[in-house]
């Protein structure tokens, strides 16, 4: 594989051809916020938090869906980018009912933490306060649309890793909703294997285990690496601490 050289924040960097810009940033410890990205799933470029500036292009590019190119000149933390990232987070908070104080994921939520990291101490937009349902018809899990940010990690993990494709997205724009099968109660789904992968990858309190109350839900993503290492590299066991 050939090597390409690019400039990131005024520093020359080499990367493998075909790598995404986001993976190069992460390798080099340059932290850009992400929500829809999850190591082990396909990229979606939906949340737009990892947007970067690129010389010669007026448009901002999402680093997760941009491949590195020879001679690329990239800036990751300009004033404009930080301003837009904060705006995106504020819009996410205003669009649905993210009331952290009474959320199962309080203290463990990726959305809550990204907001704190970027310095979002209040939301300048009007809250929409939509009237959204919860579906607790599944034996073990609950979906709360009030907390959903439409990152589609659930859709991708169910399709790509579990192979069931129970989840999908219905509607457009502000009316978009994640749905089960043909938009039916989760508990009536015949394709759902109840594996719980969607719950574990969900960054917010939109998907959680039944019985969890405020701040009790914690999620872990390690299983994705284990499954993919087994499938792709035939690694089935890990040394202690790996």
């Amino acid at each position: 594989m050939s090597v390409v050289t690019l400039t990131i924040n005024d520093e020359l960097v080499s990367a493998q051809e075909g790598q995404t810009l986001l993976s190069v940033l992460q390798e080099r410890g340059i932290e850009v916020p992400t929500l829809c990205h999850l190591d082990g799933l396909s990229e979606r470029g939906g949340c737009r938090l990892c947007m970067v500036e690129m010389e010669g292009s007026g448009r901002l590019q999402a680093a997760c869906v941009t491949q590195v190119q020879e001679g690329m000149v990239v800036s990751t933390h300009s004033e404009r980018l930080v301003k837009y990232r904060r705006m995106i987070l504020e819009l996410l908070f205003s669009e649905r009912n993210h009331v952290c104080a009474v959320c199962v994921m309080n203290g463990h939520c990726e959305l809550q933490w990204e907001a704190a990291k970027i310095g979002m101490d209040h939301v300048r937009y009007e809250y929409l306060n939509p009237d959204l349902p919860m579906d607790a018809s599944h034996e073990r899990f609950v979906v709360d649309h009030n907390r959903c940010i439409l990152c589609t990690r659930c859709v991708r993990v169910c399709d790509e890793i579990e192979g069931a494709h129970v989840w999908d997205v219905m509607g457009r724009g502000v009316n978009s909703r994640t749905i089960v099968d043909l938009n039916q109660p989760w508990g009536t789904s015949q394709s759902c294997t109840s594996c719980g992968k969607c719950v574990q990858v969900c960054p917010t309190g939109a998907l959680f285990s039944k019985g969890a109350t405020v701040a009790e839900m914690e999620k872990q993503h390690n299983f994705l690496r284990w499954i993919l290492d087994g499938r792709e590299k035939k690694i089935w066991s890990y040394e202690n601490g790996k």
Partner: protein, 177 residues
Amino acid sequence: MPKVRFATAWLGGCSGCHMSFLDLDEKLIELADKIELVYSPIADAKEFPENVDVTLVEGAVANIDNLKLAKEIRKRSRLVVSFGDCAVTGNVPSLRNKLGVDDVLTAVYHEGPGRHPTGGDEIMPQLLPKVLPLHQVIHVDAFLPGCPPDPDRIWAAVNALLAGEPLVLEPEMRTFG
């Protein structure tokens, strides 16, 4: 050095932020040397006074009394701080926003036991159509998130404000919830 004229106010909230403020414990003694508490739910003052230097406001703006007090606070304070998630985001009180005032009153009072207040009768202040964060009603100078903000956050914020510095908290100290 003259003492800072300091106030705290309680709008639509549970008073948990004030409880957390009291959890400053022995630091309150240190604070008492620097401030004069001119208005607070824990002080005996009926009217919000003039010429206040710093006011911490707990709670969302849920009814016309909250709205009136918020405007008074703004007029008479040099610095207004949204104190806790209800003031900052609307938080738990704003959960009623998707229901509409009539439906809320019907569910809680008309269909509940006993006589119901009607609102607007000067006994119960009329509810606003939507519960609002403080900054949507008046200009707010600084934000202190948390439900409630724990005493460490409050101490960091109060010290910055008394020193006349901008309120910039560490990420761990500015999470909602």
